[in-house]
């Protein structure tokens, strides 16, 4: 075969491969972006975006980045959401044990009326920090759809697990174990 034709052939192969790569790349981008649209909350494996919110009933604020090195369970809830009520006692039950192991539970509340939240917290005797997101900023940041939605953040600050919908006690304990810092 002539050298010229071999060169031409090679050039053609490179051109075709490049065109196909670009087009398949665009298609993959479209499919992934489309999938992301439906998906709520920050995806597994991504870094949890930082935020800062007031602790309910105090002037104290909690900032996520200050909790690096600890596991963080980030729970989005509201008093008017039935399944949220069901999982609150589980969280309360495990809170002290895992607090000692270096896992913090942050329950971001989406209610707008403080009295309602106060009554709820008293009724359920909740001791973990309740954070208030009255303007919905953190909810927007995390792209939260239906509640309850729970994110388990590992000590490195990445999302380890993402649960949309209610948790059972066993599941909750399993996830908390996953994000416990190594001894």
């Amino acid at each position: 075969m002539k050298e010229k034709t071999i060169r031409k052939k090679k050039k053609r192969l490179i051109f075709r491969a490049a065109m196909l790569t670009v087009m398949i790349g665009l298609v993959v981008f479209a499919l992934v972006a489309n999938g992301k649209d439906d998906q709520v909350a920050v995806a597994k494996g991504e870094e949890a975006p930082d935020f800062q919110l007031k602790k309910f009933g105090t002037e104290e604020t909690v900032r996520l980045s200050d909790l690096k090195g600890q596991g963080v369970m980030l729970n989005f809830w509201a008093t008017y959401c039935g399944p949220c009520k069901d999982e609150m006692p589980y969280m309360e039950e495990l809170y002290d044990e895992y607090k000692e192991k270096g896992v913090e539970i942050l329950a971001v509340n989406l209610d707008s009326t403080e009295l309602v939240v106060e009554n709820f917290v008293n009724e359920y005797n909740l001791s973990f920090p309740i954070l208030q997101d009255k303007k919905g900023q953190v909810m927007d940041l995390y792209n939260i759809g239906p509640i309850p939605s729970t994110l388990f953040i590992n000590p490195e600050g990445d999302i380890e697990e993402q649960v949309i919908g209610p948790l059972t006690l066993e599941k909750l304990e399993g996830y908390l174990q996953e994000i416990s810092p190594e001894e």
């Binding site: 034709t5 509201a78 309602v116 009554n119």
Partner: protein, 544 residues
Amino acid sequence: MNEITCECGHVNPEGTVLCESCGKPVEGNQHIDGNDQKELLNMRYDGSARRSQTYNRTWVDKIWNFFSSVKVGVWLIFITVIASAVGTIFPQEVFIPGNADPATHYRDQYGIAGQIYYQLGFHDLFSSWWYMLLIAMIGISIVIASIDRFFPLYKTLKNQKPKRHELFMKKQRVFGTTETQNVDVERFKANLKKRRFRVYEQDGHLLAEKNRFARWGPYVNHIGLIIFLLGALLRFVPAFYVDEFIWVREGETILISGTDGQYYIENKAFTLETYDKDNPDDARFKEAIENQNGAIPKTFRTDAVIYERTNSDVTGAEAELEQVKEGASTMNNPLKFGDYALYQASYQLNEFKEMSFKIHDKDDESTNYGEFTVDLTNPQSTYELDEGYRVEIANYFPDYELEDGEPVSVSKYPRNPAFVFQLFPPGESEPETSFLGIGANVDAGGENEYKLGLTEFDVRDVTGLTVKKDETLWLIAFGGAVFMIGVAQGMYWNHRRIWLQPRSDGVWIAGHTNKNWYALRMEIDKAIEGTGIEAPVDQHEMKS
């Protein structure tokens, strides 16, 4: 890979059907365009070597050739059309009732067919992965098929010479012979030029050509389509496209979704105006208004203030806001700020905001032992009244409903507020408990002396706004414009060529066009006027 040297001396690439220069059918390649059994030549792409028909060695070539096939492209379009049609059998997800869960709705409403419909993703067709994949494959097919056809065709038309092979002439659809020595070639050339043909000459052979650019129409059209698709693709990038929806209550300041925490909105007022037959402005509609039962909305308007966050602190921290705009959004007249526009899209009227109560004797509503007002968005836990009475809110349900015999709130919005009040008369430590809601006033113990009565309430409206940002429109419009230019280019102009070949006993004439053969023959008829050349015939028509 073998190049083909034609007897005219031109070197053609492998897979050529008709010599690029003289048009002689290349032996052994006639099956490609199905010419072997036919009397006429298939002139598509001028017999150029379409690469897809020749190289098929690596898997890259195999994928390439798959998409290069027009047959595959047509199938892809056909499947997409069928899928789109099926997608109209049951309503799309956006049109089912808002509170219905699509996972169960389709099965409940349409049975097993609905279940299948849902599971295959027909309920949200345009976002289902396989539908998008079909569109993407059509896009890829358009690109590859165009590349594979445009370049060879361009090269062939560029390389064509006036001197044509006998067989090429004879096998043209429009062909004629003239046996005379008196042919006025100069007049023929002049006639052609008058008809705006470009005339090329080689050893007495003539080629007259016009409107070659019409052949590029389909490719221009495809470029437009690809630009259009790229514009649609950019809509997945939030920097280019935002489409969100927010509810804002009167008096409330909230974050505008989709603006990356940058903009906030305060709803000053929502107004729903209706037509009023007594208003002089609306007097001309009097009859129509009277014929209609109920109010006819005239304007939906939100008066709002837009704030921009000035501190770039972490999300959730107290935002420092600076007013950037104050204005109104009415139907189809959005409130614009930055790259965003807020469209009036929905509303809810008369959500409770404040409720006032008074304490009176259980049996006598005219008595009054004190009044207090509850701000429903931020109720206090205790209300101390001047008269020495104290009222505590033991429980508050903003959106009250009875669920399994238990009072619960189904949302955070005070749409149907209900309270459990504890009333402490002066000096008493034992409260009287009562439950109060809209249309409900229950004495919990049955032994209460006092009763709480609703005296007044205040309501507010909620506006629903669509947050829009669209930086892709110009690209989509540009793609559409290119598309139309391509359509016009290929549609309203025809590529016409006329060949004249000197023979020992006269001349041969042949003609080709990509469409509108009748017009070509008319044109030839005019061009041969007074030249002694006989009118050619349409060999295709003769056969049928």
